[in-house]
């Protein structure tokens, strides 16, 4: 997926029209008004002349369509990537052209149209584009084997052993009833309650988790960093495995997973988590400085009560 227009440039043209909350993926979540998304083209008066809209493009997998044979057939890739994934891209472009979602980064479109669960029509297409990009990159020809380095260490720390992780991942993938995905994700230092601050944050709070999600939902929505995914929609495995989803999952784990991709995603996730922590610490310090100024003022205002107590 290639988005031609930078988000920063777009924001200045949107001040007058969109009620779209500026939620960065890792920004502090401010209370958001309802997303005013409609089918009608926005009346925003942009500059005169043709509006340049960013058309999302279908990104190819990082290998030829027959490269995963015999574990995932070329025919599957031709349909899965060439028809399903392409369809999501084409349909999303049709849905967002001329709206405030146009020109937004894909991850922002996903979060905005998820709309805290009150899903808007472009969500399914947007999220599925992201999910499939992520899925192709989670595999490689000659994949499988075991993870290495820090990733393996964390897996062993958080699951007990690599085998136990595989068991949990397979279980999630098999028991996602209906369509959906199973994930390995990095969950950084957050309590599960909104607005709560973890009073004693430590590195141990950050951990790897296995989660599953229905249909187009993905862990970005829960503020996790996805590291690995397997598509368990039937179209992902039906031509090659028919009903035998467990065999598909085994083949994926043993022959297709790209642990390199997972490792590099982990690096990025950890760096982002550290960056966010530092930013939150900075913000907290700024807030505290503000409070102590206020307290000083109150001391002077409250001098009357001191006199009455002295009596």
């Amino acid at each position: 997926m290639v988005v031609a227009v930078a988000a920063a440039a777009a924001s200045s043209t949107r001040l007058t029209c969109a009620l779209l909350p500026r939620q960065g993926l890792h920004g502090i979540q401010e209370p958001t008004p309802g997303l005013q998304w409609t089918n009608k083209k926005r009346c925003c008066t942009r500059k005169a002349g043709p509006t340049i809209t960013a058309k999302l493009e279908l990104k190819p997998p990082p290998y030829p369509l027959n490269a995963l044979e015999p574990h995932m057939s070329q025919e599957t890739l031709e349909y899965h990537w060439g028809k399903h994934h392409r369809g999501y891209v084409d349909n999303l472009n049709k849905q967002i052209i001329g709206t405030e979602l146009d020109e937004m980064p894909l991850e922002d479109i996903i979060i905005a149209t998820y709309n805290k669960g009150d899903i808007l029509p472009p969500f399914n297409n947007a999220a599925q584009i992201w999910n499939h990009d992520f899925f192709w990159e989670s595999m490689k020809p000659g994949g499988g084997g075991k993870p290495f380095g820090e990733l393996l260490q964390l897996i062993e720390r958080d699951f007990g052993s690599f085998e136990k992780f595989v068991e949990e991942f397979r279980s999630a993938a098999s028991t996602q009833f209906g369509s959906g995905w199973a994930w390995l994700a990095y969950k950084a230092n957050r309590l599960d309650v909104g607005n709560a601050e973890n009073p004693r944050p430590s590195d141990e709070d950050k951990k790897l988790v296995v989660v599953k999600s229905p249909n187009a939902v993905n862990p970005l929505l829960w503020d996790y960093s996805p590291l690995l995914t397997i598509d368990v929609w039937e179209h992902a495995y039906y031509l090659d495995f028919q009903i035998r989803r467990p065999d598909y999952i085994s083949t994926f784990m043993e022959k297709l997973v790209s642990w390199e991709a997972v490792s590099s995603r982990l690096e990025i996730a950890k760096a982002q988590a550290t960056e966010r922590e530092e930013e939150e610490k900075r913000k907290k310090e700024e807030k505290e400085v503000g409070i102590s100024d206020n307290e000083a003022v109150e001391m002077y205002v409250d001098s009357k009560s001191d006199d009455s107590e002295a009596e």
Partner: protein, 226 residues
């Protein structure tokens, strides 16, 4: 016919299990026509997989979950009782829905696709304008359904009204309203059409009307509204 031995075998197993606790065990209902009888609308390969594998798997897992529920109830093990509900809903729903589905389809030579007459035909014309409009709307609902699920022509037996409903995954129609009776359902899980139609769900929906068993739908309708 191979079918009979399958169902007899599972019936025997079912009874053997059932008799221990008096627990009802479910078995695969026979398909009312040959596996290839719905061609070219639905291929023999799909019918075999769908009936002998998918439906059978729902039944197997349904029975297993019910057995586990029985044990949990006997031990008053509430966490297990509650935890088993999703497996029961999913697999039991799958059994319910597919049992209805096989009856909703019939070969062309046995009346598949023949438009409804009498009271159901009249109700459709009154409430939707025409059969074509109904078909269009069912197909639109089916196409728009994200993920896995079913589209239904439902009869609200209390309000005596028809409606088009969708359910997600294997949720039975009754989860949309306790008074709703399914006149027919169309399975829009990918396994129902993928080997033949691939990603083109719309073609599957367009074609399935050629084998819809309107006679059966009318029988169900007339039973509720005599």
């Amino acid at each position: 016919m191979a079918l009979r031995s399958v169902s007899r075998k599972s019936l025997c197993l079912g009874l053997a299990v059932g008799q221990v606790r008096g627990l009802q065990s479910f078995s695969l209902p026979e398909l009312p026509y040959d596996y290839g009888a719905l061609e070219p609308v639905i291929s023999k390969e799909i019918m075999q997989l769908h009936h002998l594998k998918h439906h059978q798997t729902y039944i197997t897992n349904y029975n297993k979950a019910l057995e586990q529920l029985d044990e949990a109830l006997a031990k008053a093990d509430s966490p297990s009782i509650v935890q088993l509900q999703s497996a029961i809903k999913f697999n039991g729903g799958g059994h319910i829905n597919h049992s209805i589905f096989w009856k909703n389809l019939t070969p062309v030579r046995e009346g598949g696709g023949e438009p409804p007459k009498a009271s159901l035909g009249w109700a459709i014309d009154t409430q939707f304008g025409s059969l074509e409009v109904l078909i269009q709307r069912v197909n639109a609902e089916g196409a728009a359904l994200q993920g896995s699920g079913w589209v239904w022509l439902a009869l609200d037996k209390e309000l005596k009204k028809l409606s088009i409903q969708t359910t997600a995954n294997q949720d039975p129609l009754v989860t949309k309203g306790s008074a709703l009776v399914p006149l027919f359902g169309i399975d829009v899980w990918e396994h129902a059409y993928y080997l033949q139609y691939k990603n083109v769900k719309a073609d599957y929906l367009k074609n399935i009307w050629k084998v819809i068993n309107w006679k059966y739908a009318s029988e169900v309708y007339e039973k509720e509204i005599p």
